[in-house]
């Protein structure tokens, strides 16, 4: 699957998680993986807006009284979007406010704009590689995070040393993978990739040995 086809199935992937082919493309293509991460983040944030409630009725009362004192309001005021007759006796309802609707709509618009404007860039391997380095240098797999968490309980010094090493090794693996994919017949790139994985294996072996009771 190429980036173009992947892009076409993006809404389905965000909604359902995607299929095996999508997953394998995500593992291969850092650009698409980064996009999906961003979109999922936006979708998650949009969900958080849903359970937004009205402010307490006392807030409306206070505003109303203040406005009346200032002579700016003569009649009764009700919360926006509500046909409230007695604000003090009404229980707080779990419904959407116009503000909630507006924020959710804004999030959806941003989501749509990102989707529409996304074009898989045809970048040079070196550029892509450098970008991968930068991205991966701040990311850890769940196994890495678990290992770092274990080490943090034992020794902060060790945690820092391993964290830095894992970050470097992950960047090495990303670069070497990219180089090997760019030219599968390049024995040198394959050797670098093998070396990168051996480095990571070494880090894990040493960290695991220290973590044993």
């Amino acid at each position: 699957m190429n980036c173009q086809r992947f892009q076409e199935t993006l809404p389905y992937i965000i909604e359902s998680g995607g299929g095996g082919e999508d997953e394998s493309h995500l593992q291969e293509c850092e650009s698409c993986a980064a996009l999906v991460r961003d979109l999922r983040y936006i979708a998650e944030q949009a969900k958080l807006l849903l359970p937004m409630h009205d402010p307490n009725p006392r807030v409306w009362n206070n505003i109303e009284q203040s406005l009346q004192r200032e002579g700016l309001l003569e009649g009764r005021m009700s919360p926006p979007g509500h046909t409230q007759k007695n604000s003090t006796s009404q229980k707080q309802a779990k419904s959407w406010t116009p503000l909630g609707w507006m924020i959710a709509a804004a999030a959806l618009i941003i989501f749509a704009v990102v989707l529409i404007n996304y074009k898989p860039a045809n970048v040079q391997p070196a550029t892509l590689s450098a970008r991968n380095s930068a991205t991966d240098s701040i990311q850890f797999s769940s196994e890495d995070q678990q290992l770092i968490s274990q080490l943090s309980q034992q020794s902060p010094d060790a945690q820092h040393a391993y964290e830095a090493s894992l970050r470097d090794v992950n960047a090495y693996i990303a670069d070497a993978e990219q180089a090997a994919k760019s030219d599968p017949s390049d024995a040198s790139a394959q050797a670098l990739l093998q070396d990168a994985y051996e480095q990571k294996e070494m880090v894990y072996q040493m960290a695991t040995a220290r973590s044993l009771p």
Binding site: A158, S165, Y172, D175, A179
Partner: protein
């Protein structure tokens, strides 16, 4: 009654000094042990903080001296029934949580000829001098130094610890470090491999012995300094870094890759008896004449 104050003051100072020395002695407990080990046996040492120094010995026993810096830590000595394996394991006593200083143990170990040594530490530096057997050294952050070793297998692993090997000859050498710098001076043998992720690699020597020399890094620099007498078949390649050559090499009639200006080169000097492969992803590679 009149007292002479000077002798009293001196006595007081002497007593205080004595108490201090006793306290220091009580905190740092020094122990010595002579442990029988079979020829060809192995000694395994595990230490967190402190230091480990290995020397070669002439006898048939392992001479172990260690200083524990607190009573919160102890050293377990174990030996297998056939004396083939001896272990010295540093650990905190149950229920104790020693500080980094309290956890320190300084080892001095004299190793008989033919006995293999494996040392693993967290931050304790490791020094191996004149060992005439196989050595496996591993440290997270403590410097690893190996001097004057011949006809051995030298296997070194580090996380960020710098590694320094000097006068290691006719040996199989494998050094890997993710973030530590590796220095190899007069290191030769049938196979000499050094690899890092971000650490620099510095090799000074003649790459003699008709062996394979493989230096690999991701983003660290590789510096190789060769004497004019070096007999090497050398290739240097970097994916995105630069390569520089200031050593007289004869161009090879055929290479397995097409050399790219500034990214790779290949050539031989003298009879080209040893193979030297230098490879980086983004690190700079420099080869120069001694």
């Amino acid at each position: 009654m009149k007292f002479n104050t000077a002798p009293r003051a001196l006595a007081l100072i002497a007593a205080s000094l004595g108490i201090c020395l006793s306290a220091a002695h009580a905190a740092d407990s020094r122990k010595e042990a002579r442990i029988d080990i079979a020829p060809g046996g192995t000694v395994n040492i595990v230490n967190g903080d402190g230091s480990v120094a290995l020397h070669s010995g002439t006898g048939r026993q392992l001479l172990v001296t260690y200083i524990a810096h607190s009573a919160k830590i102890e050293v377990d000595q174990n030996a297998s029934a056939n004396k083939q394996r001896v272990e010295l394991i540093t650990h905190a006593l149950p229920g104790e949580k020693p500080t980094a200083d309290e956890a320190k143990v300084d080892y001095e170990v004299t190793v008989p000829a033919g006995v293999s040594v494996n040392v693993s530490t967290a931050s304790a530096p490791i020094t191996a001098e004149g060992i005439s057997s196989d050595i496996g050294l591993s440290s997270e952050t403590g410097q690893i130094t190996v001097h004057n070793v011949a006809k051995s297998h030298v296997y070194v692993r580090s996380v960020t610890a710098p590694v320094n090997l000097q006068d290691v000859t006719m040996s199989f050498v494998d050094v890997q470090s993710t973030g530590g710098a590796i220095q190899l001076k007069n290191v030769n043998g049938q196979r000499v491999a050094a690899g890092t992720t971000s650490g620099n690699i510095d090799y000074q020597g003649d790459c003699s012995g008709g062996g394979n020399y493989i230096l690999t890094t991701h983003s660290g620099a590789i510096d190789v300094t060769l004497p004019a007498t070096a007999s090497v078949d050398l290739t240097a390649r970097s994916a995105t870094g630069s390569v520089e050559n200031a050593f007289p090499l004869q161009q090879k009639p055929h290479t397995s890759f097409v050399p790219q200006q500034g990214r790779s080169f290949a050539g031989t000097s003298n009879s080209g008896s040893s193979s030297v492969e230098l490879q980086s992803f983004s690190g700079k590679i420099r080869v120069k004449k001694q």
